[in-house]
């Protein structure tokens, strides 16, 4: 097994290990996401810190056994802080030849392969484009190999329940989970409880799944002495006492939006259109009607944002969400929200682009689109979440800015954050400061000016239905104060300046240094979901004595006021991004700093090692 995990020598359990990366890979019908999800819960209950990375195909039911139909779930768990889903797996569970072929190249040298040899028949080998059976031809020699006929073992374990072969084989993932639970010395009971709950309507099926789980676990116990299979124990990570839960980014966004609306004391209207990987936010919110949430599945992306703007006009908090292609369609409406100065939150769960690109893979390539991607001088604030838990707080922040400045706000996450789960210390909502919205309800002193402004340059929010404040708004240039149509040159200059000044003047917290010091040889500047690998890489390099610091930017636009000076206090600045250098360009433009790009656009997150290599190169 991996260097981080020491094998047990003579005792039942191995000594403390730092972190382990396990990757479950199988056909998209094999239930790998479910297996991974339940193993994640078990990691949480074992007190480990963890991060996960679900990696699944764009096709719903890809043809069985094919390379493009492989679905995988990676989890990194350990006894100290875990920020990423891990670089190279220590353990790969491969449920068929295609899963082995697509995943084994990333397995750590000397890592363990657990393969279901029952699936390595001629037909599946051919589908995976193997000329010879890799389990037999020695091509896997640099790893440890454990071949088990999981299919057959599962069918035998559930024989007494009289299931058909097809249903019996569907218990394979529970057999595999049982084995994994044994390998990492985990308690089976919570999983048994979960299975009984899940299949409450079919006790026979529940019993079969429990039997498969137990059989996998028992297999580990009895087969322990032979071969490479050993049991390992990963100690709990130190965590502050309190209530924890697993949280995905989509859940974080949905809950954060609800919390934001409540802090603003507004009903929420969410207009959405199905798109991967953003749909999960719509799904979560559509079940929360008791929180004064109305969800609307519109006829298209344009109608989704326009309905949200219509609701904001009516006095609700309008929210829309999509991914890159849908955000592109919403661009014109964003301009209208900027022109009419109505609050709106736009969530972009970024995915690989351009065009349809890689719908289920992650990327950070919509930063230009967020900051610049509209016709005209059309500035709007942009916030980026770093993790599922951070997405909760970013969503609240987005709502706050939207209502306090009467502006659309773009909130960026990505496919990795949306799908990944992490342990989250449930926050105490009473610690969040409310920012109740006040609507204008009567003519103020000096008369009503629909485009009059407060000290934040915010215009008043008036709900239709309010007597005495009747007015018209629209996308044609507005006259200062009155909001009437006005085409005059000086007025357009003044209004353009006001729109810019309003956004530039948004108060965002000063930039802090996440790790390291203000000033020094090298700053690694990141944003969004690259937080994890950058943080770990900087931590490791600092432990080796390198003069390197980590700066993570949450407020992409406007940027923190002190950021320019901070960046100039380092000899060198590198910017790792899952794009071809978008934040890098913004930083160079804004501060004339010689920021150097570190780029990866493979649809996969950075590994820690890749960032470490970039740091070494920059410091060389």
């Amino acid at each position: 097994m991996a260097s981080a995990v020491e094998d047990r020598a003579d005792n039942r359990q191995s000594p403390l290990s730092d972190a382990v990366v396990v990757r479950f890979a199988g056909d998209s019908g094999d239930g790998m996401q479910l297996t991974g999800g339940q193993f994640t819960l078990s990691s949480a209950l074992a007190g480990n810190d963890f991060a996960t990375f679900p990696d699944f195909p764009a096709e719903i039911r890809a043809p069985q056994g094919t390379l493009f139909g492989v679905s995988a779930f990676q989890i990194n768990f350990g006894s100290s802080a875990i920020d990423t889903a891990g670089d190279a797996p220590d353990v790969l569970v491969a449920m068929n030849p295609a899963a082995l072929k697509t995943n084994v190249p990333s397995l750590k040298q000397g890592g363990l392969i657990i393969a279901d040899e029952g699936e390595f028949n001629d037909r599946n080998l051919a589908k995976a484009k193997y000329d010879a059976n890799p389990l037999e031809d020695g091509s896997l020699a640099k790893w440890q190999l454990l071949k088990l006929n999981i299919s057959q073992l599962t069918v035998e374990a559930v024989k007494q329940f009289g299931l058909g072969t097809k249903d019996a084989l569907r218990c394979k993932n529970m057999w595999t989970l049982g084995l994994a639970l044994w390998m990492f010395d985990r308690d089976r009971q919570p999983l048994i409880d979960w299975l009984n709950g899940k299949f409450a309507k079919d006790p026979n099926l529940a019993a079969a799944n429990v039997a498969a789980l137990n059989a996998g676990h028992a297999y580990g116990e009895t087969a322990e002495l032979a071969g490479p299979l050993k049991q390992h124990h990963v100690d709990p990570a130190p965590a502050a006492p309190g209530l924890y839960r697993t949280l995905t980014g989509a859940e974080g966004i949905a809950l954060g939006l609800v919390a934001g609306a409540q802090l603003a004391k507004l009903p929420m209207f969410f207009g959405g259109y199905p798109i991967t990987p953003a749909s999960a936010i719509l799904h979560h919110l559509s079940r929360l009607k008791e929180y004064d949430v109305t969800t609307f599945q519109a006829e298209d992306e344009i109608a989704a944002i326009c309905s949200a703007i219509g609701a904001s006009y009516g006095g609700s908090l309008g929210v829309t969400s999509s991914s890159g292609p849908g955000i592109a369609l919403k661009g014109e409406a964003m301009g209208l929200a900027i022109m009419t100065e109505l609050p709106l939150v736009i969530v972009n769960s970024q995915r690989g682009g351009p065009s349809t690109g890689l719908p289920t893979k992650t990327e950070q390539s919509d930063l230009y689109q967020a900051v610049y991607g509209r016709n005209g001088d059309a500035p709007l604030p942009v916030i980026a979440a770093r993790s599922p838990g951070d997405a909760f707080d970013c969503a609240i922040e987005a709502v706050r800015i939207a209502v306090q400045y009467m502006t659309p706000v773009m909130l960026l996450t990505d496919g990795y954050i949306a799908n990944a789960a992490e342990p989250w210390a449930v926050p105490d909502l009473t610690t969040y400061e409310a920012f109740s919205v006040e609507f204008l309800t009567e003519v103020p002193e000096g008369g009503f000016k629909p485009y009059g402004r407060d000290e934040n340059l915010k215009r008043p929010w008036v709900k239709p239905g309010t007597p005495g404040l009747l007015h018209r708004i629209g996308g044609i240039e507005k006259e200062l104060d009155t909001g009437h149509i006005n085409y005059e040159a000086s007025n357009h200059q003044a209004m353009t300046d006001i729109r810019k000044d309003k956004i530039d003047g948004i108060k965002v917290p000063d930039q802090v240094v996440e790790l390291g010091a203000e000033g020094g040889k090298l700053a690694v500047v990141g944003w969004g979901s690259t937080f994890g690998p950058i943080h770990q890489a900087v931590r490791r390099k600092r432990a080796e004595g390198a003069d390197v610091s980590h700066i993570h930017i949450r407020h992409i636009w406007p940027l923190p006021a002190n950021l320019g000076e901070l960046l100039k206090s380092y000899d060198k600045v590198i910017v790792p991004e899952m794009n071809t250098g978008q934040l890098k360009t913004v930083l160079r433009d804004q501060y004339l700093v010689d920021a150097k790009p570190v780029n990866k656009v493979s649809g996969q997150p950075f590994t820690i090692a890749e960032i470490e290599a970039a740091i070494e190169e920059a410091l060389a």
């Binding site: 309190g242 008791e290 109305t294 109608a303 326009c306 209208l336 009419t340 708004i473």
Partner: protein, 345 residues
């Protein structure tokens, strides 16, 4: 119109006029429609502050600036989507959508269809002038074949859409027709407002600059009796001073014009207009002018539950007995507690 629209108010035409300078071309049919609407509003008896005019882009879409109500001049073709969000946020508002043949049937055809299909409670006034006016005269989706325009110098070749047929096909529960200078337009507007649900009104409108008098063949006062069929619920479909009527050819199953002798429309087989008869409505919207008179007035009116009412009903039902306890919600799902001795479920 919505049952929740309870704020009634006595107003005059003046109360519905803004101080904004109207910027349509002199002689534009839009002026007559604006006056008709401003004249209708006091008769409806709603309050200006409870009324919202929402438009897209085009000549007709300037309409909200001239109504002393709340108004939202949005983006091209999307007015129905803004209206949907607004109505869901506040079902008590009385919403009027103003659109045109390009705005509502070309760039925004999708939204028009879905608003009608969902049956959002609002009035949709589609000003049909069979041309793009604001962009200086290109042919539109309702232009007749052969329309010569800057973008079709050799004449358009594509067949036009029929707004009323489109609306009915999309599932409309109210379809009416009128034209800009018609004295009967306010009655049509009132009927549309009285209908609870999406009320679609096609208003033929004369674009004096780019498509002048294109509806003159039926809209001209002279000979109007012979060329206009004004439909009245419960009344026989008669025109030409009662000397002609519309009957059903029961062999070939289509409508036909029949002569009525001495007012005996019954023996001529003239159909009595039933606004709830969907089959006849389908035939009325398809009646080709020339062979037939232009069918005007309320062609179809048969309400059913509205979208926003159903959404609110469902939201309420789904919330019943549930407490909005966000702190509790955060604690749901896969949770565990970390204590001094470690984690536990």
């Amino acid at each position: 119109m919505n049952e929740m629209t309870t704020i009634a108010r006595t107003t005059t035409l003046k109360d519905w006029e803004t101080d904004q300078e109207v910027r349509w071309c002199p002689g534009c049919g839009d002026y007559a429609i604006l006056k008709a609407v401003q004249r209708t509003m006091p008769e409806i008896g709603t309050a200006p502050e409870n009324t919202v005019f929402i438009s897209g882009i085009g000549c007709s879409s300037r309409f909200p600036y001239y109504m002393e109500t709340y108004g939202f001049h949005t983006i091209h073709g999307r007015a129905p989507a803004f209206a949907t969000g607004l109505k869901l946020a506040n079902p008590g508002l009385d919403i009027w959508i103003v659109t045109g043949d390009g705005d509502g049937l070309s760039i925004g055809g999708n939204h028009t269809m879905h608003l009608i299909r969902r049956n959002l409670d609002c009035q949709i006034m589609l000003f049909n002038n069979e041309i793009y006016g604001l962009t200086k005269g290109q042919y539109s989706p309702t232009s007749r074949v052969g329309t010569s325009s800057p973008s079709t110098p050799y004449g358009s070749v594509d067949r036009p859409a029929q707004p009323a047929a489109f609306a009915l096909g999309a599932g409309a529960r109210f379809v009416a027709r009128g034209f800009d200078v018609s004295k009967k337009l306010p009655e049509v507007l009132k009927a549309a407002h009285a209908h609870k649900g999406a009320a679609f009104i096609e208003i033929f409108q004369n674009c004096i600059v780019y498509n002048k008098d294109v509806f003159e063949d039926f809209a001209a006062p002279k000979g109007a009796e012979d060329r206009q069929l004004w439909l009245e619920n419960g009344e026989p479909m008669l025109f030409a001073k009662g000397t002609k009527g519309i009957a059903l050819d029961s062999v070939e199953l289509h409508l036909k014009v029949v002569d009525v002798v001495d007012g005996d429309w019954q023996s001529a087989g003239v159909i009595v207009h039933d606004v709830t008869n969907r089959s006849v409505a389908h035939m009325l919207v398809e009646m080709r002018f020339g062979e037939f008179p232009m069918a005007l007035g309320v062609l179809y009116d048969d309400p059913r539950p509205t979208f926003e009412a159903d959404v609110w009903r469902q939201n309420k039902a789904a919330s019943e007995g549930k407490k909005a306890d966000l702190q509790g919600l955060l604690k749901k799902g896969q949770t565990w507690t970390v204590t001094e001795s470690g984690p536990e479920l």
